[in-house]
Amino acid sequence: MSRIRDNYKTSPAGRFEAWYKDGYDPMDDCMDIHKPAEVSEENDVADVIAGLDLGDTVYDRTTNKALRISGHIYKILSVVLCVVMIGALIWMVQYLPPFGQPDNPVNNEVSERYIGSGIQETGAVNFVTGMILDYRAFDTFGESCVLFIATICVQILLRYDEAEKDPANVRRRQKAATDRIYEPKNDIILQKVSVILVPLLFIFGIYIILNGHLSPGGGFSGGAVIGAGLILYLCSFGYAKTERFFTVRTFRIISLAALITYCLAKSYSFYTGANHLESHIPLGTPGAILSSGLILVLNICVGSVVACTMYAFYTLFRKGDF
């Protein structure tokens, strides 16, 4: 008898029931984050949470009836919302245009012009690049701004400056410093592999950026590849080596220069386009590296911004600095 009950408890239905009745939440187990031994003294709430047992009568969901009911209602509502939404979406899929047919609404005069006249109008052999950097360039400029503003927000959160006196930040800095004690790890396998891989990654990234208008890829993917290469180099050789050529200053100069170039170049092209003026930028021969007008310049700008940003994300996460 008890074995059957045990089986029921471990079965999905039993777990669902337990979760519904709030005795046990299967999601609770997902949080295998371990609380560190020392809890800082300036943080009362953290202290309380560290020794948290919801034994207090008011806030214990098992004893406080009102709280339990509202918790139930919230859970049921969210589950119902999810189920209804998935159901509605899947039910709707059958009414959509079928997959892969040439006469679907999406294959209209828009894509025809992108492909048919793309070569004369943008000079880009890769139609996707031509589309995102010329026909719909405003979107792409917005996208670069999203990346820029995300970097700004991460800097606000994680960068710390010399001027700070807040004890919480001092503690964070000490913690970051202990993270760096193990740098470089001098792992021979990692170092040998990255000696081979990092130059390859850089060359591959630069190739993707420069050939963005000729072959698959472009500024963003190339920049991400270069960024990954930088991160690998940092992991295997430590901060001392990377700081010789990449500091906050480098990051600021590169990203500012690239974004300002991007902004000005696109402003010029939007202004001439809207006022029906002649654009004085030669398109070149399609297929050559130096062709397709501004696209190459924009790709290089995006690539350098993205490479710096990815590396900056990593170092900001690791030690709150570049």
Partner: protein, 128 residues
């Protein structure tokens, strides 16, 4: 009402994309662990991108890159969804990086990833 056969023959990619969207959405809404929430967000976004990419595909056509000088629009797949997805991927990377840095700061301060616990504590303090 629901024609299963249509779903799995002519709309396979879209169906899978919608299922993935639902999984990601539920993860983002229901899971209490912040890192899982961020993964849910990424799954949800990639599901939309899978849907868009599937919409750009046309049977038997080439990648939208000029080959052998053919400029006939009927020879290539649709380039528009690819462009949109490229833009979208950048947006989701930025958002994930921002959320992850918020996670680090939250953990620094409260040593937990569960927002409900923290909010419960606040209410307790307010009443006290």
């Amino acid at each position: 009402m629901l024609d299963i056969e249509v779903l799995f023959t002519s709309h396979l990619e879209e169906t899978v994309a919608m299922i993935l969207f639902g999984i990601g959405f539920s993860l983002l809404l229901l899971n209490r662990n912040l890192i899982k929430k961020i993964m849910g967000l990424n799954i949800m976004d990639t599901a939309v991108y899978l849907f868009l990419t599937a919409k750009g595909y046309i049977y038997g056509r080439m990648v939208p890159i000029l080959t052998d000088g053919i400029t006939d629009p009927n020879a290539y797949t649709n380039p528009i969804p690819d462009g949109l997805v490229l833009t979208g991927i950048v947006v989701s990377v930025s958002v994930s990086a921002l959320l992850l840095s918020l996670t680090i700061r939250l953990y620094d301060r409260y040593h937990t990833l569960d927002l409900d616990k923290i909010i419960m504590e606040w209410r307790k303090e307010e009443d006290a």
